[in-house]
């Protein structure tokens, strides 16, 4: 147990701009557990979209900004498996490719202190019951980067199982990609849509009211499909469920 810790929130550019509720919920959960949350305002974006599209040179100033912003903190927490994956597995590579080995060293140091939310709650704080109440049926999509890049395992599910009122419904073929893939969703829109169609089929097969995940980007994709098809199923970020104490979100 490591309560009273000081945590720097990396909200991610996507949540900051389009899903601020996810950022507010992350703050709420961490503060409820006794953390001192700070929001370094010089933060912008991890650069993942640039790196994954091939623009590593363009990503370099973003890596530099991330490192300069966060290297003074003992712990950095982000509500996104793929952004943390980028910080942990890509920042040093981007720096090295540009020949900046000093930056690569600093990037590795920051990366070792950067955590996805469920990792931080379960591994660092040692908490599996965050005191949330959420009286809904929920199915959980584990997202590829949380699952395979970070190896968060069943930490998100453990957290959800301890939420009061929540009924967790197993998602068939849960570990299969939803088809988002960053710019893949645009460059290969047909294949992306075919994958999304199957994911939506699996979500609907559970009969859940809510499809949850730990990445706003995957949720934007899945939610965009669920909304377009008027399925009536909502997408909600894990942080929002963990923040709920009165069943709202």
């Amino acid at each position: 147990m490591n309560r009273g810790s000081s945590v720097a929130l990396f909200v991610t550019c996507l949540a900051d701009t389009l899903f601020p509720d996810v950022g507010r919920a992350t703050v709420a959960v961490l503060e409820r557990l006794g953390c001192q949350v700070v929001f370094p305002p010089s933060q912008t974006c991890c650069g993942q979209a640039h790196v994954n599209t091939g623009y590593q040179r363009d990503a370099l100033p973003l890596v530099r900004n991330f490192v300069a912003t966060f290297e003074r903190y003992d712990a950095v927490v982000a509500p996104s498996g793929s952004c943390v994956g980028s910080v942990r597995h890509q920042h040093a590579i981007v720096a090295e490719r540009a020949g900046d080995n000093a930056l690569a060293e600093r990037a590795r140091a920051v990366a070792s202190r950067t955590f996805e939310l469920s990792e931080y709650l379960v591994d660092r704080l040692g908490v599996t019951d965050v005191g949330a109440t959420y009286p809904h049926t929920v199915t959980y999509h584990p997202t590829c980067h949380s699952l395979r890049m970070l190896g968060v395992g069943d930490k998100p599910l453990t957290l959800l199982r301890n939420v009061r009122g929540l009924t967790l419904l197993a998602l068939p073929a849960a570990e299969e990609c939803c088809g988002f893939g960053g710019t893949f969703a645009m460059k290969n829109v047909d294949t992306s849509t075919a994958m999304l169609a199957d994911k939506i089929g699996d979500v609907l097969a559970t009969g859940a009211e809510v499809c949850a995940a730990s990445d706003s980007s995957c949720l934007m994709h899945i939610g965009g499909g669920l909304s377009r098809l008027r399925t009536g199923v909502r997408t909600v970020h894990l942080a929002e469920i963990l923040a709920a104490t009165d069943g709202a979100a």
């Binding site: 974006c45 979209a49 599209t53 623009y55 590829c144 994958m195 909304s227």
Partner: protein, 497 residues
């Protein structure tokens, strides 16, 4: 090595020969495949079956992770001294009575094999299933020289009879179901029973009686190789049907075309790979036929053995520190079977004879990335391929690396940047500075006008303008909120941090 030096290496697979380049970009070819109902059904069924089989037989091996690590490290060691090992392999093969030929590329390999077949006085050859000979378009080159090549692997026979292209490394006819195969056999096999049904046993029997005549008459066989042992000069072919063994033992002359990366240092190394390969590939504990041969032996098997060592771009792959891991591949196709993209598009969409995740990193490196520029993008980077790879090739990282190589090549070769490059540069400029980013967020908030405030469409955007229209072609977009997170933070926490 500077990029300039790298371009001096004249080692990419040449254009105009072989099957490493498609005629369409991946997204275009995929669009066609996605609309093929039969293909989608066949692939979905086949990949799900083989995935489950693999998971079951891998799950029962307690030291699977150690085996994978052993496979990876043997391959890494091999690549680090590939030149020495190849020379050792040549010495051992020659000492055992074989002849070794070095082929820089597909054209050289094809002309070596053509010359050898002619010298053997043959105008037909039987073939063992082989990726290397598909890669170089050997059958087509032989046909041009008036030599008929008969595929003897059942699935390759199906592909050859239908004038199709393989769509999977291990099961090249995965896109066809048995009803389609029955119709094909009824149409193309001479003397076939007109009452042939689509029972797999009957289909196999029809192919068997057709092939038996070929085995008995052929003077020359052509094979690939799964492994070539430097220590002993032993070649290995791993297969399921036994047709390969017929080819390897019956004809008087055996010609083996082997990619230079298939060498392993010692005989004992086979212990690792013969465990990894069948479980990853067919989902079997052990494959039915493993043929090993060392040179020639009087009165036993072929009288003449030729080994053609093929480069065709592999040295270029080896010269790339990040990409060279691709050469560790043992062609098991586990990555195809778990790939959510492959499962939906099938193999033809990749253009090359190497489809799926491994093809998306191998083909662009063999041809030079600009000749297969859409392939590194044919992945969501979900990482399922990396998890199952028996030699731990980090396919997602190599995909990302090749995307960067492509962007840099474009930057070098184009006078005017692509629209995407301009967009990415603008986005990076904006995101590199928190002040500029806040201004951009204000602009994004103007997008609220695209969504409706009330009624059934509240909170959604049905159509976005410009390049973002690709998003709303299939999905709604969220309406930007009235307040960003950082604005909320500044308002409620007084901007303190």
């Amino acid at each position: 090595m500077s990029p300039g030096d790298r371009r001096l290496l004249p080692v990419h697979a040449p254009r105009g020969v072989g099957m490493l380049r498609g005629s369409q970009s991946f997204p275009d070819a995929a669009r066609t495949a996605l609309a093929d109902t039969q293909l989608r059904r066949n692939l979905g069924h086949a990949t799900a079956t083989i995935r489950a089989k693999r998971a079951a037989v891998v799950g029962e091996v307690a030291d699977w992770e150690e085996l994978r690590e052993a496979g990876r490290s043997i391959k890494a060691d091999t690549m680090a001294r590939l030149d020495d090992l190849l020379i050792q392999l040549e010495e051992r093969v020659v000492a055992a009575g074989g002849v070794v030929h070095w082929a820089r590329d597909a054209d050289e390999a094809n002309s070596i094999v053509t010359r050898l077949v002619r010298a053997a006085g043959a105008d037909e050859v039987v073939k063992v299933k082989s990726m290397a000979t598909q890669e170089i378009g050997l059958n087509e080159a032989l046909a041009d020289a008036g030599i008929a090549a008969y595929e003897t692997d059942l699935a390759e026979l199906i592909i050859q009879l239908s004038g199709d292209r393989p769509s999977h490394i291990l099961v090249p006819a995965i896109h066809k179901n048995r009803a389609e195969i029955r119709a094909l056999f009824a149409r193309t096999l001479p003397g076939v029973d007109p009452d042939l049904t689509d029972d797999p046993r009957e289909l196999a029997a029809a192919a068997r009686s057709h092939l038996r005549r070929r085995f008995l008459s052929a003077k020359v066989a052509v094979s690939g190789a799964n492994f070539g042992v430097a220590e002993t000069g032993t070649l290995a072919v791993v297969e399921s049907e036994g047709n390969g063994r017929m080819c390897l033992t019956l004809p008087r002359t055996l010609i083996t075309v082997m990619g230079i990366e298939k060498v392993v240092p010692t005989f004992r190394d086979l212990e690792v790979f013969l465990q990894l390969l069948p479980r990853s590939s067919t989902g079997e504990r052990m494959n039915p036929y493993t043929s090993l041969w060392t040179g020639v032996h009087a009165g036993d098997g072929p009288e003449a053995f030729h080994l053609v060592l093929l480069d065709n771009g592999r040295t270029a792959v080896l010269s790339d520190e990040v990409g060279r891991e691709t050469l560790h591949c043992i062609r098991c196709s586990a990555c195809l079977n778990v790939c959510p993209v492959y499962e939906r598009t099938g193999g033809h969409a990749y253009g090359s004879v190497y489809p799926g995740p491994i093809g998306a990193i191998l083909s662009p490196q063999l041809t030079g990335v600009e000749d297969n520029a859409s392939l590194p993008y044919a992945s969501t980077l979900c990482g399922a391929c990396y998890d199952v790879c028996p030699v731990k090739i980090d396919i997602p990282s190599i995909l990302v690396h090749l995307r960067a190589e492509h962007v840099e090549a474009q930057r070098r070769e184009r006078r005017v940047p692509t629209p995407e490059a301009i967009l990415m540069a603008a986005a990076a400029w904006t995101l590199a500075d928190p002040g500029r980013w806040q201004n951009a967020q204000t602009a994004i908030r103007a997008g609220r006008a695209l969504g409706r405030r009330r009624d059934k469409d509240a909170g959604r955007i049905r159509a976005l303008p410009g390049p973002l229209a690709a998003w709303t072609a299939a999905r709604d977009a969220p309406r930007p909120p009235a307040e960003t997170f950082r604005q909320w933070w500044a308002r409620t926490r007084g901007g303190a941090s």
